[in-house]
Amino acid sequence: MNRHLIRWAMRLYPSAWRDRYGEEFKATLDDMPAISAATVWDIFKEALLMRTPRAATMKLILIFGLAGLLIAFGVSSRIADQYLSESLLQASSLDRPTLDQSIGQILGRQNLVNLIEKHGLFAPERCCLPLEDLVEMTKKNVRVTLKDSNIAVGFKSTDPLIAQRVTSDLATMLTAAQTPGQITILDNASAPMAFYPNRLNLSLTGLLAGMLIGGAWALVKARKTKLAG
């Protein structure tokens, strides 16, 4: 029974180790008059130890992980918070093509130019970028989601107040795009919520990436040492 267990436990050893020491290890076991449970445990325990990364490897993984965490946190701290405000509207009597048309209308160039001017959007970029680029940037920051007869319209901005005001304007423009009463506002522009960057997620990603790089570095180092040997 114990000899059967030992054969199984030996499979847990790294294959390179088995190639090098397997035969003489078996010879040592054959020399032993009896195999006790303590011997089986000893063989199993050593297999586990051989599979556990050594202290130097753990140290490298930890150092790289910590560096990754700090870098990711540093970078995420330099990214300005993005806020999103949303308004919920209802368009029960409108079909989808008409709704799409209304949405296309409020995202039209002139409407977006009006929003840029009214709210002073992208003030730092206005000096250096053509108006068409600003219009595109504004369009990208508008979020429209359709679900059944409900429309959620929102705006993303680094300024929470602007996010809320532009959302409010977009909702009003959408109701005005159709005959009064066809689109109604269910919820006014919500209090802006910071949604990006998720610093915890970014920091944890940095930690994980660092640990992976550390592990890879340790592997390369171990291989180089083996080749040199």
């Binding site: 020491y21 035969e23 076991l29 020399d31």
Partner: protein
Amino acid sequence: MNDPNLLILTSLADGDKHGYAMMEDIQVFSGVSLGPGTLYGAITRLEERGWIRPTKSTDRRQPYTLTAAGKRHLSEQLESLNRFVAQGRLRLEQT
């Protein structure tokens, strides 16, 4: 004293031995019963460090011998143990 590395180096100090011979020898001179897993884990490390090396053998049993670096290391370790023992005795006598 139950450091497998030191026990193996000491066992090989008076001549080459294979795995089971080392286990028996260690049991006799130190009273420590090394399991085969622990023994071969330590043999792996000692060989990696260049303190022991396998000798030529036609048998499945592989004998090992102490290298010059292994002898030096064992000597240093025993010196350190001697100082430790002497210090311990001295302090015991003072009390």
